[in-house]
């Protein structure tokens, strides 16, 4: 049982980062990026190509993360412009449709060119025993990286001027403009950050097991669920929800079954919406 829970936590930390990326973009602009999972896959494939080319894994990982951030910026500067010009539900709908289109394009191109593409970052060494459970080094590394990134994010949003600026745009965009913050610039930077986070998730996931080219939609679904349960726009909420849902996922997959697990996770999202729409830590 402990093993299952620990696996769940490892998974959950990755979910958390994924959720953070998605919730940030939503909190800032009201857009749910349905292409998010595909960006993760894109980072993985780029890293795979670099590794196959003979370069060091670390270089490949960095390039993958940068590629993801880059694609995110491109998306923001192109597709998101017309979306942000709309307001309210028009914006939501257009955002959903355009990012859906982008998801098809990115995912389609990747599975077309690299139909068997997968990234696996093998971390050698003997398993380490945590609470009596042997955990692979890959899992440990993945968790440590996720925690470190999480801490950096908290520091960024809590203590830096720009980070506070981001929070201010989420809380009151007009107020932010009045104090001299350019919401458009902030959105682009955060979009890039969300892309980078997607890339990092690709790498940490690949440390635990192979990340295949078709994982895109599933990843987007997880990100969406974590975002909703954690509270749209809450970074800490996404992390918390991620870990919780990771554990739930692990327990359910182990004791019940994989298909039902997806339904349970989506059910958690639905339940949150019906009972506590602001999520765990949302406003």
């Amino acid at each position: 049982m402990t093993a299952v829970i620990l696996d769940g936590i490892v998974l959950g930390l990755a979910f958390g980062l994924l959720g953070v990326g998605m919730t940030l973009v939503y909190g800032l602009g009201g857009v749910l990026n349905l292409a998010y999972g595909q960006i993760v896959v894109l980072a993985a494939i780029v890293a795979m190509i670099v590794i196959d080319d003979g370069r060091a894994t670390l270089v490949a990982a960095v390039l993958g993360v940068l590629a993801a951030a880059g694609v995110a910026v491109v998306l923001d500067l192109t597709l998101m412009r017309p979306v942000y010009r709309e307001r309210g539900e028009e914006r939501t709908l257009l955002g959903l449709l355009l990012t859906l289109g982008a998801a098809f394009v990115i995912g389609g191109v990747l599975s077309w060119r690299y139909p068997d593409g997968a990234l696996y970052i093998y971390i050698g060494g003997d398993p380490v025993s945590i609470l009596g459970v042997p955990m692979t080094r890959g899992s440990i590394w993945a968790s440590v990286i996720a925690l470190a990134v999480g801490a950096l994010l908290l520091l960024f949003f809590g203590a830096t001027t720009f980070g506070r600026g981001v929070r201010s745009v989420i809380q009151d965009e007009v107020g932010a403009r009045l104090v001299g913050i350019n919401p458009s610039f902030v959105r682009t930077v955060i979009f890039a950050l969300s892309g980078a986070l997607a890339g990092i998730v690709a790498m940490t996931n690949a440390m635990v097991g192979p990340l295949g080219v078709n994982a895109g939609f599933e990843l987007t679904t997880f990100a969406l669920i974590v975002t909703v349960v954690g509270g749209l726009g809450s970074v800490a909420g996404a992390f918390l929800a991620g870990v919780l849902l990771g554990v739930v996922n692990s327990l359910s997959a182990h004791y019940i079954g994989q298909y039902i697990t997806t339904i349970i996770l989506l059910g958690a999202a639905a339940l949150t919406i019906l009972i506590r729409p602001r999520g765990l830590l949302g406003r």
């Binding site: 809380q171 007009v174 107020g175 932010a176 009045l178 104090v179 913050i181 350019n182």
Partner: protein, 240 residues
């Protein structure tokens, strides 16, 4: 209208703005000299808020110009106008509710780091804010939120402070306190542009005023002139 010959800090010429193609304000000419306090007076719907929003860059002007100290600000985005030195305190305040009072103030100085001296000035002006530094802005009372909004605007060390209906939702005693604080600001040399429905209050602190009616400037003059004006007295001071 008698003003000194110096070029004004804020020049608004022929400004027109509105919503969905309709002009709510038109042909607005306003001048504010450095160190002056000017009031824009008018009833609800006269266009005061539209005027301020347009100057602040939240609404694009449909015609006319806004110039700050020679610098053209017409139709620039709000954050640029804020950085150019115009601080706008809207009636809705637009504070950051989930952040502490202090964080709100600190953000007022964006993108610069907050100046400790200015922060002290704000706390001296509004001692209540010092007490409630760590409190979340969303939990403050109406009066405190108003003070915080003004304080936040001051943190930017603006050239011009625009206040839209600063006494809205405040009990009369608090409103009086607010205007006393504004007097204090004026003494420090701050240039003020205030929109108010409550004419006596506005004219108590302002040297000059403009009367806005149906989106146009109806009257302008010194505070004494306006107070003596029979139309103003009838319409806004309830004097027959």
């Amino acid at each position: 209208m008698p003003t000194s010959g110096r070029p004004a800090l804020l020049e608004v010429e022929g400004l027109a703005a509105g919503y969905l193609g309709e002009r709510v304000i038109d042909g607005i000419d306003v001048r504010v000299q450095t160190g002056e306090a000017v009031a824009i007076v008018g009833s609800n719907g006269a266009g005061k808020t539209t005027l301020f929003r347009t100057i602040a860059g939240l609404l694009p002007a449909m015609a006319g110009r806004v110039v700050l100290d020679g610098k053209e600000l017409t139709r620039r985005p709000a954050h640029r106008i804020s950085r150019a030195g115009i601080a706008y305190v809207p009636a809705e305040r637009h504070l950051f509710p989930a952040m502490t009072l202090k964080s709100n103030l600190v953000l007022g100085a964006y993108p610069r780091r907050p100046d400790p001296a200015t922060l002290e000035l704000v706390y001296d002006l509004f001692p209540r804010l010092r007490e409630r530094q760590r409190q979340q802005a969303g939990t403050l009372s109406g009066g405190e939120q108003q003070m915080l909004a003004v304080g936040r605007a001051l943190m930017a060390r603006p050239r011009l402070l625009m206040l839209d209906e600063p006494t809205t939702g405040l009990a009369p005693i608090i409103a009086q306190t607010a205007f006393t604080a504004l007097e204090g600001l004026k003494k420090e040399g701050m240039t003020l542009l205030i929109a108010e429905q409550q004419v006596p209050l506005a004219l108590s602190v302002a040297e000059r005023g403009y009367v806005l009616e149906n989106g146009r400037i109806r009257l302008s003059g010194s505070a004494e002139e306006l107070e003596r004006n029979p139309e103003v007295r009838r319409a806004y001071l309830g004097v027959v």
